[in-house]
């Protein structure tokens, strides 16, 4: 399997404050990689850097194409879908309009219509609320909507920022199960940022651990789960 995403020497800053220092990581085609760490470690910034939302230097290669220096809208068109922290839902329009917006960069109308149906099948609750204003949905429903919206792009790479945030454990389990299915059935590669390390390690193949903007540990999920010192020092379990 080839490397879909290869990141080297990545620095990122907000204004004049540097947040990421010389980060390197990668993702196999079809794989799931987790980025873990405490608050403020730079996990969200990593995802933002991939989408070129903040200032970056270094190299981000997606299937061989260099992303650094591109506009966010162009990165999206290469097949990168980002579910931001806080969901990023378009609260002022309906659920269905949110899904249509997810497919904005696509040209195939029939495919879009089919995909909307598939989303409703996967998340029946969204079908119930299809014409409802998206801002009135509960947290779990908005997360489902956010993921669906991202999937409407038919992305090569799905970036998820703290999908478990603020959700009840039962809903989180449901969502993580759906994410596993999306990966195996639709073959979507995923980069997952999570504070809930055990959940993330159960889903992901590989993981990178960030601390104050630097990668301190990397390896397969098995390796990290079995390494007691790493678990106790960084992951708290």
């Amino acid at each position: 399997m080839s490397r879909l995403l290869e990141v080297r020497n990545l620095d990122a800053s907000y204004g004049s404050t540097k947040v990421l220092f010389d980060i390197a990581f990668g993702l196999e085609e079809g794989g799931i990689t987790a980025i873990l760490g405490a608050n403020g470690a730079g996990k969200t910034t990593t995802l933002r850097a991939l989408c070129q939302i903040c200032r970056t230097s270094g190299s981000i290669q997606l299937g061989g194409k260099e992303l650094v220096g591109m506009a966010t809208e162009d990165v999206v068109r290469l097949g990168v879908a980002h579910v931001p922290d806080g969901r990023g839902t378009f609260t002022g329009v309906s659920v269905e309009e949110n899904l249509r917006l997810g497919a904005y960069a696509r040209r195939d109308k029939r495919g879009v219509a089919e995909d909307i149906e598939r989303m409703y099948e996967r998340f029946p609750r969204l079908r119930e609320r299809r014409n409802q204003q998206a801002g009135t949905l509960s947290g779990g429903e908005q997360q489902m909507l956010a993921i669906s919206r991202a999937l409407m792009l038919r992305p090569r790479l799905l970036l998820l920022d703290e999908p478990s945030f603020g959700l009840a454990p039962l809903i989180v389990a449901e969502i993580f199960e759906i994410m596993r299915r999306i990966n195996t059935e639709d073959k979507v590669s995923m980069l997952l940022v999570e504070q809930n390390a055990s959940l993330a390690l159960d889903l992901a193949d590989n993981a990178y651990l960030l601390e104050t903007g630097k990668v301190v540990v990397s390896g397969t999920s098995e390796q990290i789960k079995n390494d007691e010192t790493v678990r106790k020092a960084y992951l708290g379990f």
Binding site: C51, E73, V76, R77, T91, G92, V93, L101, G135, L153
Partner: protein
């Protein structure tokens, strides 16, 4: 009764004018979430461009369409050059820039074309088949044009992907970028369209009130009130609001308070309505969860 109907009709006629300008304001609001206080002066400037093209000998409809095209491009250029630097600045900073644009357009128009009042022709001949004793041909024609614009706008925003994208870009620019919408161009397009609508509004208004640099000042206020009354994010609301404002203003002036205080009372009434329906008559009260 006859007199009352006359006043009602006159109110609807002026209401059509306010409706057209209100549409332009709603257009800008839907694409940028800002109210463009310079809209009236831009519309006035576009009308002068139309007038100048007529002076150069072009036929009415050629000048009309060319003025709209120039305004469209001009609106986009203004957004890309003058407004871009303050795109991320606070709302009130943008408001001051709009005020700056307002006075610049007003002043430059007066400088180029002077303050002598000019006549502007109407494309609707006064003896047309649809002219009645109550409504002049121009009244009917301009209301028809306004309604056509409304229909086009409605279709654009509700039914086309680009219209949806524009609304999304205005509400949530960050998320819009993440679905591939080129937010900056959406803003520019919104301004271009609003300028074009303003041009049409100005060229429909000028035959009635005559062309001079200050012709839009009072109208902008009524247009603003009409847009808010109808719900600032609703084109249909803008048009309905425009007619209501026109009728209310006229009836108040004729029967209640005389022309001096009618502006005051009209505005007080509108504020009163807003108290009862704070998001406007047709506005959606957006629910936000904390």
């Amino acid at each position: 009764m006859e007199a009352f109907i006359q006043q009602l009709v006159a109110g609807l006629a002026t209401g059509g004018i306010y409706a057209a300008l209100a549409l332009a304001l709603v257009m800008i609001y839907q694409s940028t979430h800002l109210i463009n206080f310079a809209q009236g002066e831009m519309a006035m400037f576009s009308t002068y461009i139309g007038w100048q093209l007529l002076q150069y000998g072009l036929s009415y409809w050629t000048a009309f369409l060319l003025a709209i095209l120039i305004s469209f491009i001009g609106g986009m250029v203004i957004q890309r050059t003058i407004l871009r630097p303050v795109e991320r600045a606070p709302i009130l900073t943008n408001v001051i820039v709009f005020i700056g644009l307002l006075v610049i357009f007003n002043s430059v128009a007066g400088w180029i074309w002077e303050h002598t009042v000019k006549a502007f022709p109407s494309p609707f001949p006064s003896d047309a088949w649809y002219a009645t004793s109550y409504f002049s041909a121009h009244n009917i024609g301009s209301v028809a044009v306004t309604l056509l614009m409304l229909l086009a706008l409605f279709a654009f925003f509700r039914l086309t992907p680009m219209g949806l994208a524009m609304r999304a870009a205005a509400q949530n620019p960050d998320s819009a970028r993440l679905v591939g919408i080129r937010v900056s161009w959406m803003l520019a397009l919104g301004w271009g369209l609003a300028a074009a609508i303003g041009a049409v509004a100005g060229m429909m208004i000028a035959p009635v009130v005559f062309l001079d640099p200050n012709m839009m000042a009072g109208i902008l206020l009524y247009g603003f009130a009409a847009a808010l009354l109808g719900g600032i994010d609703n084109p249909l609301g803008a048009v309905v609001g425009g007619f209501i404002v026109g009728v209310v203003e006229n009836l108040l002036g004729a029967y209640v308070i005389g022309t001096e205080l009618k502006l005051t009372v009209a505005l007080v009434l509108i504020v009163g309505i807003l108290m009862v329906k704070p998001a406007g008559l047709f506005g959606k009260h957006l629910v936000t969860r904390v």
